[in-house]
Amino acid sequence: MNRIYSYLIFVPVMLQAQWVNYPTAGVPRTADGRPNLSAPAPRTADGKPDFSGLWQPGGGGGSAPVAGGPPLSPEFGDIAAGRKEPLPYRPWALDLRKAREADNGKENPDGKCMPLGMIRMHSHPFPRKMIQVPGLIAILYEKGVDFRQIFTDGRALPKDPNPSFNGYSSGKWEGDTLIVESVGFRDDIWLDGAGNPISESAKVTERFRRPNFGSLEIEVTVDDPKAYTAPWTVMLKQYIALNTDLLEYFCENEKDASHMVGK
């Protein structure tokens, strides 16, 4: 009994030592000193909203990560979870999703330590840090110690980009909304755990808004005429994580994939 009790004490102490605990600078506060998450979004020197910060997917909270992690965003499992209508699949795309399900997700890139691609990363439960500098927004992902670049220097998208997981992204402002267009995706990306696909013809448009200090809205439109009969849109929300930082997560010990069942 004594031993079990000691373990219980010991575990929380270990966890505390693992999280990076460093006060976030520049947080607006209420009169009683708590973070004021509904304060206006900060702005950069050029007057545009500043998306810089550490973000986690989901509806809200604003606290540091809790033991066990935040609840999974439903879109991580199925990107269409928040939609009333099913995705407008081409027949082959629906067949591919069904085949991936029937195969128990054995070919899910996540199970093979492969990158997930920038759409699925929006709903991945681990935090990501956005850094906005002139001409560029970088997104640093805890998951896989991976990154994505969004160019905001007005450049055109490449005509024949090398297919990649994160694509090639260029953004421009419309008022307080950053509109990011991306092309150049691989055709083996899974948009979610269900295995919804995209093809190399996909053009993805993201509309980033920061309605207040504590929250970020990312409206994602997938225009992929090879895989879907019409463009479709989902809203993926994120909330700010304070007083912590990215940990280093390498998928270094993936021993499950070879034992998974499937076809």
Binding site: A17, Q18, V20, Y22, A25, S52, K112, C113, M114, P115, I131, Q132, V133, G135, L136, A138, L140, G144, V145, D146, F147, Q149, D153, R155, P158, D160, N162, S164, F165, N166, D245, L246, L247, E248, F250, C251, E252
Partner: protein, 250 residues
């Protein structure tokens, strides 16, 4: 004739893959070429600006002591013994990079380009190799007392005259200093001095301070060049890592 065809085809394929985007703000010679010997750019605070896409001289990945004379690396006996056991490819399997995990300080020395981005409170390094990043905090914070050991460690940076000085601790002891297999311990403290000599050239003076593995600290100087008018590609090591099974070692 067939060989000639194959060769010209490969070249065409490659040229479609590289990004060709003129880097803004690069000084150019009258014929439009980047002037890489132009003066070091400086920010409003007068300090050198390190932003840009850089590529390390490849020899330091193979041998971090390439410019030192034999006997100049002050090994502790166990470290020299371990190094000797790893040389000539023996033990390559125990290098974490063989399993697609780069570590410091080898990360800086990868032969692929990396991008430095200065932002308020933090300098980022985005690496094409392994598509990964380092954060170097410049907001005045202290190094943590008992950091969780990681592959890249925990880094803070500050300016000393024209040198950007980065201190890093908390590096997992299983990383190698170079492909030759020089080891370190969990006591490793790295000091990198980034020195941009002119527009197109930078040195990293790297000091290995690790009293458990080396009898005194030792320093090497690695040189980098600016890579203009391009961008980082995506590099996915886990996709096609077929070497590991063929490496020898434990």
């Amino acid at each position: 004739m067939r060989i000639a065809l194959v060769v010209s085809f490969s070249v065409a394929t490659l040229s479609a893959q590289w990004f060709n985007y003129p880097t803004p703000g690069i000084p150019r010679t009258p014929d439009g070429k980047p002037n890489l010997s132009a003066p070091t750019p400086r920010g409003l605070d007068g300090k050198p600006v390190l932003n840009g896409i850089w590529q390390m001289n490849g020899k330091y990945l193979q041998d971090i002591a390439a410019d030192l004379k034999p006997g100049e690396v002050p090994y502790q006996p166990w470290a020299e013994q371990l190094f000797n056991s790893r040389r000539n490819g023996a033990g390559g399997r125990s290098d974490p990079a063989a399993k697609c995990i780069p570590g410091m300080p080898k990360l800086d020395a990868l032969p692929y380009p990396f991008k430095i981005i200065e932002s308020p409170g933090m300098v980022m390094m985005l690496f094409e190799g392994f598509t990964t990043f380092r954060q170097i905090f410049t907001d005045g914070r202290e190094l943590p007392k008992d950091p969780q050991p990681t592959w890249f460690g925990y880094s803070t940076g500050k300016w000393e005259d024209d040198d950007f000085v980065v201190n890093t601790i908390g590096i997992r002891e299983s990383t190698w200093l170079d492909n030759a297999g020089r080891p370190h311990s969990d006591a490793l403290h790295l000091i990198e001095r980034f020195r941009r000599r002119d527009f197109g050239h930078m040195d990293i003076e790297l000091t290995i301070d690790d009293p458990k593995a080396y009898t005194k600290s030792w320093t090497v100087k690695e040189d980098l060049r600016l890579i203009p008018d391009t961008e980082l590609l995506e590099y996915v090591c886990n996709e096609n890592n077929k070497d590991y099974e063929h490496l020898v070692g434990k």
